[in-house]
Amino acid sequence: MTNPDQSMDDLRRAIDDYPRRLAETTARAHAAARATVTARDESGQVTVTASGQGDILSVRVTGHALHDGDPHTLATRITTTVNAALSQAEATLAEATTGTLPDDTETTARLDAFEQRIDAAINRLDRLLDD
């Protein structure tokens, strides 16, 4: 059975620790937003660079693609490559912000423990009032 005092201490530590976790996650998110991601299409003719927050920094098309390609094919390659870069940027940002909060299992366990602690306190108060 869970020790209510220990559970209360765990919950208090989790709450006290939250500002530190939030600051770390914010720093990671800012770093990820400043980072760059690069996507290249299968032919190697289009290369797109984006920031972690999804701003497009460059769209490089090879001279070969410009001279020998057709507009429709090149447009399709650009579409695919830009979307790949955007997906990479989102994944980078999402990864940076993972782990801010305790996972659901941990949170539920702590809340259950907190509830038990409150029940125990109420029972104690009732006993005191009965005396």
């Binding site: 999804g54 701003d55 497009i56 920094l57 460059s58 769209v59 490089r60 098309v61 090879t62 001279g63 410009l66 001279h67 390609g69 507009p71 429709h72 090149l74 447009a75 399709t76 650009i78 579409t79 830009v82 979307n83 955007l86 109420i122 029972n123 108060l125 009732d126 009032l129």
Partner: protein, 134 residues
């Protein structure tokens, strides 16, 4: 005897209201109301996100060299290049496309953000406005 708490609906005994005498049914009803309100707000936000994601945004340059469409996720749904665009210097094409892409993607992000914001409960919108100067 001291009175611990005077909760509405609590059972009285010998002029003492016990902590354990809360009206559980009332508490459950109130929690259910809050849960229902939150579920409703969640549904409204999900619907707003879904609608925003399918909205189409479009930009084009003044010379008709390139047109770009995007949805609200934001992802490109189409790029159209005029044949003359292939005669541009790679640096100029880069600049043209980068400018148009950031314009359409920025517009899509703003619109989706606005749609989600409008779907949030007033209290949350107020808090977001206070924290972010939105």
């Amino acid at each position: 005897m001291p009175t611990v708490m005077g909760a509405r609906g609590a059972r009285q005994s010998n002029n003492v209201t016990r902590m354990s005498d809360f009206d559980v049914n009332e508490l459950v009803a109130r929690l259910q109301l809050v849960t229902d309100e939150m579920a409703g707000a969640g549904d409204r936000v999900r619907a707003a996100v879904s609608a925003a994601h399918t909205t189409t945004f479009h930009v084009a340059d003044h010379d008709g060299l390139a047109e770009i469409t995007a949805d609200g996720r934001p992802r490109l749904t189409g790029v159209h290049l005029h044949r003359d665009a292939l005669h541009l210097h790679p640096d100029d094409l880069d600049h043209l496309l980068t400018t148009l892409l950031n314009e359409v993607l920025g517009e899509a992000r703003r619109a989706t953000g606005d749609a989600v914001f409008e779907a949030l409960p007033q209290q949350i919108r107020t808090e977001i406005t206070r924290v972010t100067d939105r």
